[in-house]
Structures are given as structure tokens and as C-alpha cells.
Amino acid sequence: MNVATRTDMTFFIIIGQWTLAALASIGRLARFAGKALASLVMPPLYIVRILEQMLSIGYFSLPVVGLTALFTGAALAQQIYVGGARFNAEGVVAGVVVIAIVRELGPVLGGLMVAGRVSSSMAAELGTMKVTEQIDALTTLQVDPVKYLVTPRLIAAVIVMPLLTLVANVIGVLGGYIIATERLGFNGGNYLKVTMQFLKASDVQSSMVKAAVFGFIIALMGCYNGINSAGGAAGVGKATTNAVVSAFILILLANLIITVVVFGGAK
């Protein structure tokens, strides 16, 4: 066998191994998610833990999500005004801002900010519990770690993300309103009227569906990476990074899929 063919073979072997590994981790993730969801229908449901998590995911994310929405809405209004001026369409500012914020930027930027905050802290917390044998201790005390740690986080994130996104949407539109009225000389009442005219129920539905899915991704990636971390402090660090990066990518991918497939046809 000459050298060239051998390198070719190696190349295919590597691709093959990589594919198998990728499929295997998707399988593991799916089984993990399935187990967490199955816990939903089996008591106990650890209500207190769900409320704790709702507080820590939702309430404490309000400032960062609110600021993100405010700045983005404001910048967006300015950009559309400048861009729109090129074809004399300054009037569309209110409409484009509300649609862009509600359908896309509110849930996506909110999701990314919460992922940065929450996926990382979940991975760090569960990862530390793993490497200090607290997860083993739970098991020994006859408490299912997935049910006790993961399911409440998933439930809380799926409930809280739509609420956060609702707030983000309102603040984002408000950011646009402030720029439009204070800098661009728009009439406030008129701006709000146009905003409400443009906004459709399907925009809000799309926003809420996205937010709930992103919430699921945020908690799932945080918990999965945390609970599977190994190898001391360095392992926890790696789990934290992986949680955030994978949550980001999955949120953007899910956003694309939901936008195109689920709400692509809605007028």
C-alpha cells in the first residue's frame, strides 16, 4: 500500500470515528433528556426546587435581559431610520422594530444572555456536585439525581423563559420608542399606534414558542454537561464552557428551524 492511499484511509477512518462519536453523544443526550422528562409524570415533583430555580433563572436574569433588549431596540430604531432613509421609508421604523424584536431579537438575544448566565452556573454547580461525590450521595440516599436536580431546572427554565422574553419584548420596543421620539422626532402616540398595527398574534406566539424551546435547551445543556463532568476542577471548567457553547449553537439552530419550518408560512 503506498503512502497516499494510506493517508486517504486514515482520513476516512477519522471521519467515520468522528461521525460515530457524534451520533453516540446525540444518543446519550436524547436518553438523558428522555429520563428527565419521564420524571415529570412520576411523583414526587419537588415543587420547592422548581420555585427556587424559577427565582434564580428568571428573576435574577431580569436586569441583564432587560438591558440587552433596551439597547438593542434603541440601536435597531436608529439603524432602520438611517437605512430606511435611503428609500424614503422612515415611517416603517415602528413596524420593523416591533417585528424584529418580538419575532427574533427578543427571544434570541434573551436566550443567549440567559444561556451565558444560567447554563454556565448550572454546569458549574452540578459539575462540582459530581466531582465531590454529592451526586453519588444523592443516589445512595435513594434520591434520583436526575429527578431531583435536572427535572426542576428544566421545568423552571421552560416556564420562565417565555415570561422573560415577554418583558424583553416590551423593553425592546420601549428602547426603539425612546430613540424614535427623543432623537428622530417621531410622534409618540403615532409610533405606538403603528407598533400595535403591525404586531400580529402569530408574532407573539412565535416569540413564546422560541423562548420555551430556548429555555429547555439552556437547562438541558447546563445539566447534561454538569452531571457528566469528570476530572476535578479542570473538568468542571470544561463542562461550563461546553454548556455555554453548546447552548448558544443549539439556540441559534433551533431558532432557524422554528423560524423557517414552524412559522415560515405564517403571514
Partner: protein, 256 residues
């Protein structure tokens, strides 16, 4: 009589490292077994195989004659109801106050209400020499030895039939170590528990063991009554008991 715990030819490798290489071990009901052996020989892994926290690659593990191999989650939960475990590093839940740690199995596992569970927790803290004042502290506010004792209180709080102690006296002063030894003896002699203890502490071995097993390179190389450890006729045990650097046990120490 069926032994309480029965391990036959248990093997476990992590990657290429063969940690357990055919462990055979039985523990009779009401007996106190102590496992000794060098650091990293697989003592903790052995215990975790019995608890179902680590799945052996091959071999048989039985509790009360029931095989744990291939048991489902519900089956393991049932078996673990009779188990208590002190982890080597304590493994306390650092988000919960001390008393909730001790009462965790009672409240979450058995659904006991907070008030009686707290009373039992404080009672158990006192048995390991901790005052009720520590009940509301977080584990991170305790010293290492105190954390160990909280772990011990948690292991015995639900009155399990079988208790595993992974280095119960490491990090304790000699007086407190003796208090803990007494406590372990009490669990076995007065409450009729079965105990499996891992320790490096020879005074602890002499105090609590009915029987001693020595693990070396993934196998039980010697196993006999406590009275025999000083004339075991086994070179490994002799070296270990006397704490000698020279002998058949080669520690992986680089000599300069």
C-alpha cells in the same frame, strides 16, 4: 447462612487501568469487616460496586442472596434503603444546612416531616460529638473533621442495616477518632448492623474489626479475624500492619 454481602470475581477497569482484578469478598450479617490496603488499590471502588454507584465489568455482587448485576433503578433503590454510606470526602450537600444534610434520607427518601427529622438530625449530630449549634451552619463553615462527622451522622441517621464507612477517622484528632470507633462498634454490637469500613488507621482496625481483608493490586490477598493480623503469616499484611517501607508491597515512589 446467606452472607449479607457476597462479591465473587468482581472486575473493573477504568480505561486500560485494571482496578479490581477478581475481588472475592463476603460479609456476614452483623459482622464488622475492615478493608485495608494501600492508597489507590481500589478500596473505594469496591464499596461503590456494592452500592451500585459503579457497575463492575464482570463478576457477581449479591446482597442478601439477591444479585445486583442487571438490577434496575427501582431495584437498586430498594436495596439501598438498607444502606448507609460515609463518603471518603464527606460529599455533603453544600447548598443545604448541616441538619438538612443529616436528615436528607429521612425527608427525601422516606418523606418524614421537617420537625421530627430535625430532631433526629440533632440527636445524630450529638452522637458524633457535634453540638446542636452546628445544625444551622452550612457545610463550608465547618472544619474538615467536622464535615467528616456530619457525613457520619448522615450515614447512620436512617438506621440502615448495612453501613459503609470510607475512612471514618482520617483527619480527626486521636480522641475524636476513638469516639468514632466507639460509635461504629456501637452500631454493630448494639444495633446489630453490618459494617464495612475502609481505613488506614491501625488503631481503628484493632478497635472495630471482627474480620480484616487486605486489598492489593485489585485482589483480596488476605482475609482473617482481627486477632490474626499480627501473626497473619502474610508478608503483605505484615508490611502494612507494621507500616514498613521495605517489603513485597512496592509503592510507586521514585527514589532519588
Amino acid at each position: 447462612m446467606t452472607p449479607k454481602i457476597d462479591m465473587q470475581d468482581v472486575r473493573k477497569a477504568f480505561g486500560t487501568k485494571q482496578v479490581l482484578d477478581g475481588v472475592n469478598l463476603t460479609v456476614a450479617a452483623g459482622e464488622s469487616l475492615v478493608i485495608i490496603g494501600g492508597s489507590g488499590t481500589g478500596k473505594s471502588v469496591t464499596i461503590k460496586c456494592i452500592l451500585g454507584l459503579i457497575k463492575p465489568d464482570s463478576g457477581e455482587v449479591k446482597v442478601d442472596g439477591e444479585s445486583l448485576i442487571g438490577l434496575n433503578e427501582a431495584g437498586f433503590r430498594r436495596v439501598r434503603k438498607n444502606f448507609g454510606m460515609l463518603f471518603q470526602g464527606g460529599a455533603l450537600f453544600d447548598s443545604l444546612p448541616v441538619w438538612r444534610n443529616v436528615a436528607f434520607g429521612l425527608m427525601q427518601g422516606q418523606g418524614m416531616a421537617a420537625k421530627p427529622a430535625r430532631e433526629i438530625a440533632i440527636e445524630n449530630l450529638q452522637r458524633v460529638g457535634l453540638s446542636p449549634d452546628v445544625a444551622d451552619l452550612k457545610p463550608s463553615e465547618l472544619s474538615g473533621g467536622m464535615q467528616k462527622r456530619v457525613g457520619l451522622a448522615r450515614a447512620i441517621a436512617a438506621r440502615p442495616q448495612v453501613i459503609f464507612f470510607d475512612e471514618p477517622t482520617t483527619g480527626l484528632d486521636p480522641i475524636m477518632a476513638d469516639v468514632i470507633n466507639e460509635l461504629i462498634s456501637f452500631q454493630v454490637k448494639d444495633l446489630g448492623c453490618t459494617a464495612v469500613t475502609i481505613t488506614h488507621d491501625m488503631s481503628s482496625v484493632r478497635k472495630i474489626a471482627d474480620r480484616v481483608a487486605m486489598l492489593y493490586r485489585g485482589k483480596i490477598v488476605w482475609n482473617g479475624p482481627r486477632a490474626d493480623i499480627d501473626h497473619s503469616g502474610n508478608a503483605y499484611v505484615e508490611q502494612f500492619v507494621k507500616g514498613l517501607a521495605e517489603g513485597p508491597i512496592q509503592m510507586d515512589v521514585r527514589r532519588g
